[in-house]
Symmetry: C2
Subunit: 638 residues, 2 copies
């Protein structure tokens, strides 16, 4: 069984990778751009749809070009602000690190929570978009919307558990391929037909129109959700890291803005319907070419970049959870890398959470889009405020006129970015509150409380565990009492007694619990026959409970000699098949758990291997290449 | 936390009951009749509905009285046959015991499986009927059909976990109350109006009519599902048990047959619609009185007897699972009585399984009724065949004419009962196969395979565990090596070292696993400072795995000295709050599980109590009334 599982694991996840063989990427801008910019660029696949939808609801569909331009302006503003972020904080902690360093641990924790929620939604939105594109070109898939999205998550999960990183050159092809498709569409669109019929913009100055515009800008802001990924990419760049990462970031933002503008103009010109009729990019392509090949030419690169983006978010999520776990905000085991150098816990969490979201919303893109800006923009605003604080501190130290002036300019840039970001966040929180933003807000809040509780718990435990001078924990018990539990007189009991004897305790006794009087008499008779040299104590159990009498017996020993240690030997069956667990060890597990609640008790599990287990044991030693064990001794001469 | 849970448990389930205080009921027929006959009589609440439905489908609705008479004839035949069952096998094993004794363990196992399935369906059908009656009198409940049925299951589960037995006198009121209501309805029905319009029976001799009649008889056979409960009631009767139990059984069957006949005639006379319009009993009452009070007067006793019947089946199910577990057909823990003398495992199983059925079918009575005869009649047929065999054996021993003749008569009775039962079973299996009988058949089959596998497994293990002469399991290890796992240098590690020292092993070492080189250097430095007198061995872990290097180290010790015992001390955190489990012990649990797969290894858990755990420990000692511990020594002088 174990052998089969080991082989399966090897097949699916690959051979272990040693710590020394970890390869740090050192990418040039040309390759870093597609690797870390995929998340931002992929948003073009559904951002125009969201903007168009917001405008249509207010009857302002014709204002699309203006809104797209507005979104591009915001993107460029935030792009330059974030270039400053990554230059000043060129580490893998991204927004979490920036805020933690400048605004303190609590703000850092909130940023971490917001980012985790953002990532979960990004995965959900991306796979929902993948499903939408796939259904449009392959109508046979219709009706399996949620299924396709879940399948995409499963594939990503397996790939990320294995630790597959898309090769930089493949990412290059995907990234430029998508950009090329958008460019080609824009070019054909510009040359084809006349634009007259749709040129007039009827921007009514009513409240409804204002609301509609605000909603459209907020929807367009999804274009910025990928920016944090770029902001944490510096360590993966070739030197000079900070500068190169800044350049990658600004190029990615400019490319994204251009693609978004082009896509929006196409959508507007070809008067496509809302996204209920399919992705607007594909609708535009359909009107332009009226040939299925054109649809495939658009859909395939789009699906590829959406997949790459979501997969990158998986990595970023598990990286961030490991950072948070290292800072004691999340359970410690999340900071452990697997034998494939992957933080598996994080991968499992992001895939489960996004799968739940996909199921809960039926993978409806229009619903998911409304939810996920909450997390992303909370992080953006916090990190920009952090940068304003950072610049203020630097300005205070800087005396010379020229540098000071430049710093003040940067500070204004960050302040503007923070203001715009806060505006977007408020618009999203207010407009989309009932449409789902409440869920994202709630998730962030829950995560914050959870993380705070975990941090406090670990801190409290650390205090308790710190070694004092002349620590009483070092006190050696004056004597040790051995107790062997004998439920039935069979071979596991004999072995436990033999082992207990070998341990040379100050006193040793076997203990049986009487539930059925006849069974006890029989046990005593056979005990006498076997002549094991150990006294048998029978505890009466009027309530047929196996555990309490043993606990009371141990307590009675402690009452007589409070400083002694009691070692309880419990035979435990080792089984070879998973279902055998349900047939053995139930009572001994309960006993073990309760016994351990008593101080100065040690519970010693004496394994008894059933035949089914022995089979797998032998094979295990063969399948596994044993790593060399390096022994070094210390302490004796230290 | 534990204190709170203990109090809650005490409140919900009551104080523990000592083994000595178990009270065996010794009921007279007058009280045994309602206690064990409730299950059979309660069937009148839905059996006429099923028969009417089967007839209507074939256009033979007017044949209802004839069919009812036919069902009554079958009931009386089987009633007398079962009276002989209970007289000859007056124990609590019922059909399971009869078949096991006469036809062998395999047939017994099949009977057990069939009965378990029957019980599960009986609970589901009864709560579905409760929901139907409740909705008819309280229209506000409409639309909550499944919810009402589930609520009834939850109440029964809690009551049965507590071990509440309905008092015999209450059962008396319920049982006779229901009988009285049926009697009163029949009386009023006989006096009211004329019967002319409906008297003619148009029994077409077509195939369709024959099918319809067969289906009706098979539907009416649900009246017999409660008979096995009566057949296992002998131990609860006052002496002479067997005779008294036989009398109870025959009275219960006669009362049931009379009630069924009366209800069927009412339904037929008042031309009620099918059960889509509600329970036919209530429809008849509505036409007779046209007053809501009359409906309540019928519905309340009916719901009471349905509840009592289902609750009795809970007890019977958990009783049978405990018997099957004692015979090693089911996991051993099912045979353990709780501190309230209840077999809790069985209660949980029957409530979960019937709740699943209720959810799966939407608590639709018309669907459930078609499923559940499979299990009940399989048991009936098997037990009747067993009785035929039993009588044959007795006849072979009996020489005298008179007794021999009587025995041959009984044998014919059982043969007739077996034949009729088999006929019903085949009709049900064929007619209702696609309507749901396949599910019951499948469940029985699955249970049979499961039980056979469990039995074989336990038998195989028992062989492995049997003590031989000069058993190698008694071999005392020549030396013991102690290993203390030191992940970090904190107080739990100090305590583990102190305890390990107290155990005076042949050799003792502390072991650390190196994942991060800097952490190791720091660990070695502090180890030197503390001067614990134990060498520290560092194991390198190139794949960042905590478990494998320790396993390999233990194996390397065994390679040098194969007959030695290795005791691995693992500090374990004892937490006081449930969620703290997710934050501690993850790595040590995994290590423990893997270590135990190696022979000649003992894993000693050294508990470290976090403050949260210490709080609950102190309180625990106070809340619990300590049972007196009786100590008896044996073996030394045995």
């Amino acid at each position: 069984m174990r052998r089969f599982l080991e082989s399966l694991k090897m097949l699916v996840f690959g051979r272990p990778i040693a710590t020394g063989r970890e390869q740090r990427m050192a990418l040039r801008t040309r390759l870093a751009l597609p690797v870390f910019g995929a998340s931002l660029l992929s948003t073009v696949a559904y951002a125009p749809d969201a903007v168009l939808d917001a405008l249509r609801k207010g009857g302002q569909g014709t204002a699309l070009p203006w809104m797209a331009a507005g979104v591009c302006a915001i993107m460029i503003l935030l792009g330059f602000a974030y270039r400053s972020n990554v230059r000043k904080h060129p580490d893998e902690r991204g927004d979490y690190g920036t805020v933690q360093d400048q605004l303190g641990p609590t703000a850092g924790m909130v940023t971490g929570a917001a980012l985790l929620v953002d990532y979960i939604f990004t995965v959900a939105v991306s796979v929902a978009a993948i499903a939408q594109f796939a259904e449009f070109v392959l109508p046979v898939l219709e009706g399996y919307h949620t299924g396709i999205a879940l399948a995409a998550i499963v594939i990503m999960t397996l790939a990320n558990l294995r630790g597959i990183r898309e090769r930089a050159r493949v990412m290059l092809a995907v990234w430029f391929g998508f950009l090329l498709v958008i460019g080609a569409l824009a070019l054909v669109g510009a040359l084809q037909g006349d634009l007259a019929g749709t040129a007039t913009v009827k921007a009514d100055a009513t409240w409804s129109a204002a609301f509609s515009f605000a909603g459209a800008i907020a929807s367009g802001a999804v274009m910025l959700t990928g920016i944090e990924h770029l902001a944490s990419s510096a360590p993966y760049h070739a030197e000079p890291r900070a500068k190169r990462a800044g350049r990658t970031l600004i190029l990615a933002v400019l490319a994204g803005a251009a693609a978004f503008l082009a896509a929006s103009l196409l959508v507007w010109k070809y008067r496509v319907s809302g996204w209920q009729q399919g992705p607007v990019l594909l609708q535009a392509a359909e009107r332009m070419f009226d040939h299925p090949a054109a649809l495939w030419a658009v859909a395939v690169p789009t699906i590829a970049i959406l997949y790459a983006a979501a997969s990158a978010v998986f990595r970023r999520f598990s990286g961030l959870t490991s950072l948070l776990a290292r800072d004691a905000y999340l359970p410690r085991q999340l900071s452990q890398q697997s034998d494939r150098l992957v933080f598996r816990g994080g991968v499992i969490w992001v895939s489960s959470a996004s799968a739940l979201l996909v199921i809960g919303t039926g993978a409806r893109l229009e619903q998911l889009v409304h939810m996920y800006l909450i997390g992303a923009f909370a992080a953006i605003v916090l990190s920009q405020v952090a940068m304003v604080r950072f610049q203020r501190r630097r300005i205070a130290l800087e005396l010379r006129g020229r540098g000071r002036l430049r710093m003040q300019g940067t500070r204004v840039l960050h302040a503007a970015a923070a203001t715009v970001g806060a505006g977007v966040w408020i618009v999203v929180a207010v407009f989309n509150f009932s449409a789902g933003a409440w869920l994202a807000l709630l998730l962030v809040l829950l995560l914050v409380f959870l993380m705070r509780g975990i941090r406090q718990h670990y801190a409290h435990v650390r205090e308790q565990l710190a070694i004092e001078t002349d620590d009483p924990a070092s006190a050696r018990p004056s004597a040790t009492h051995g107790i062997v539990l004998v439920a039935q007189l069979h071979r596991p009991a004999l072995r436990a007694i033999a082992y207990a004897k070998a341990a040379r305790h100050s006193s040793l006794e076997a203990v049986g619990v009487q539930i059925d009087r006849n069974a006890t008499v029989e046990l005593q008779r056979r005990w006498g026959e076997l002549d094991l040299g150990v006294p048998l104590v029978i505890l009466d159990s009027p309530y047929r409970d196996l555990v309490t009498p043993v606990l009371d017996h141990v307590r009675s020993i402690h009452r007589v000699s409070p400083r002694d240690m009691v070692v309880v030997y419990v035979p435990e069956y080792i089984v070879g098949r998973w279902w055998e667990r349900f047939l053995h060890n139930r009572a001994s597990m309960r006993l073990r758990e309760r016994l351990l609640t008593i101080p100065r008790v040690v519970v010693a599990a004496v394994p008894w291997h059933l035949e089914s287990a022995l089979g797998t044991l032998e094979s295990e030693a063969l399948t596994r290449e044993l790593p060399r064990v390096e022994l070094r001794e210390a302490g004796q001469d230290g």
